[in-house]
């Protein structure tokens, strides 16, 4: 079977829409849908988009090897209106990455867009004590508290109780920059309270409200 689909895979390798597949294979749209269904059955197609977005089909010449569970970037893309591109495919084997862990890992990346997109996760957090514990372990308690306040000023979030906020504020010997050398013009009050530098201005956050 691999032999017979090989020429089709070569023609379609990469990102496609149904229109494009029909054009590349010189067939009708209905036939293109059948072909892509067939390729997906053999594990060569990954689908994305749909709904308001156009449906995209990424065709691979080799079978897609999917083991384990989604990593940080996939979790953010699933839960945030701000989408980020994956620098690599990340899979967690043998367990699932929790929202709490994803949030802390996002802060640890020190990457502007990853942290911006991850603010949406504050509404999906289920276990506040776990979130606090992880932040303590990774020395990012004040960063977490400050980002929580920024997120809460902008979007709907789960509420972190006073006890944990107080503990976060007390944290010592933590780095001040969330993203190296980036400071905010608009969140001075939050920056002063938490003694960290917020990497966003108010305008940066509108995409989270979509």
């Amino acid at each position: 079977m691999k032999e017979s689909i090989e020429p089709i895979l070569r023609k379609l390798e990469g990102l496609n829409t149904i229109d494009l597949i029909a054009k590349k294979l010189n067939v009708k749209e209905s036939t293109a849908i059948k072909k892509i269904h067939e390729l997906r059955k053999f594990g060569h197609v990954e689908t994305s988009g749909g709904g308001k977005q156009p449906r995209l089909y990424r065709v691979y010449r080799n079978k897609i090897v999917k083991i384990g569970n989604p990593g940080l970037y996939d979790i953010i893309n699933k839960n945030s209106p701000v989408k980020i591109s994956r620098p690599y495919e990340e899979r967690i084997v043998g367990r699932k990455l929790s929202i709490e862990e994803a949030l802390i890992r996002a802060i640890k990346t020190e990457k502007y867009r990853v942290i911006l997109a991850s603010l949406a996760l504050f509404n999906k957090v289920k276990d506040i004590p776990k979130l606090y514990k992880l932040a303590k372990k990774e020395d990012v308690r004040r960063k977490l508290g400050a980002l929580y306040e920024v997120a809460r000023n902008t979007i709907r979030t789960k509420k972190i109780n006073e006890k944990h906020l107080r503990l976060m504020l007390k944290a010592k010997n933590e780095k001040a920059f969330i993203v190296p050398k980036v400071k905010s013009k608009d969140f001075k009050d939050i920056e002063n309270k938490w003694r960290v530098y917020i990497p966003f201005n108010k305008q940066d956050l509108w995409r989270l409200k979509e």
């Binding site: 691979y60 010449r61 090897v65 990340e90 967690i92 043998g94």
Partner: protein, 220 residues
């Protein structure tokens, strides 16, 4: 022989036993398993960036009953050979930074396409281009077949291979492009691998220039 499932089970077990997070690069046939171009591999080739990580990994393997094997059986008298550990049919080759004539570089690390987290063990599978370069360095039985399969199944970025070969000349392996030229030439001749002539010409030119430079240095 080890398939993806067995490899995953073994790495999960190691990841559970390790107390501290460590990173490693998986190269060769085991990386091909992750890329979906190979069903089974004889051994798992792992490269560490840090000695400490390798020692932690090695200790866990020894605790799991892996025994050291004579490296000369597979690598003869080559330089930068790995530590060979074996348990039954499972063989793991542990390298630090260098794999025979090839050294892991920052650009190679940046090209990593797949990252797997097995407990405290972070496994990074190198790109198809880098697998070819590693295969050129190790030159064991089966390495040429594997390399030609990668060329057949991926759109290889040949400029990456040329740039990395040049990178290697700045490190320990001054003549890496010479070995690479021989390796690719053989792949094209014997395995009918689809390697553009332009690529071979470029690598040949680089190799000749390097050899001339080396000879001039010797004369001085």
């Amino acid at each position: 022989m080890i398939d993806l499932k067995k490899q995953g089970e073994l790495l999960s077990l190691i990841g559970e036993k390790i107390k501290k997070k460590i990173e490693c690069y998986i190269v060769g046939g085991s990386a091909m398993l992750y890329h979906g171009v190979k069903e089974e591999t004889k051994d798992v080739d792992i490269v560490f960036d840090e000695q400490e990580s390798k020692e932690i990994f090695e200790k866990v393997l020894r605790d799991l009953g892996f025994k050291e094997r004579d490296v000369r059986i597979i690598y003869f008298k080559k330089r930068n050979t790995p530590l060979l550990l074996q348990r039954g049919e499972e063989r793991i080759d542990l390298f630090i930074k260098k794999v025979i004539t090839f050294e892991i570089t920052e650009s190679m690390k940046a090209r990593v396409e797949k990252v797997y987290e097995y407990g405290n063990l972070i496994v990074k599978a190198v790109s198809p281009e880098d697998i070819i370069l590693f295969k050129c360095a190790t030159e064991r039985a089966g390495d040429r077949i594997d390399a030609s399969n990668i060329i057949k199944n991926f759109k290889i970025k040949w400029n990456v291979i040329i740039e990395e070969a040049l990178n290697q000349t700045k490190l320990e392996s001054y003549l890496f492009p010479v070995y690479l030229y021989d390796f690719l030439e053989e792949l094209k001749e014997d395995f009918k691998a689809d390697i553009p002539n332009e690529v071979l010409r470029k690598i040949r030119k680089i190799s000749e220039d390097l050899l001339v430079k080396k000879l001039k240095k010797k004369k001085k």
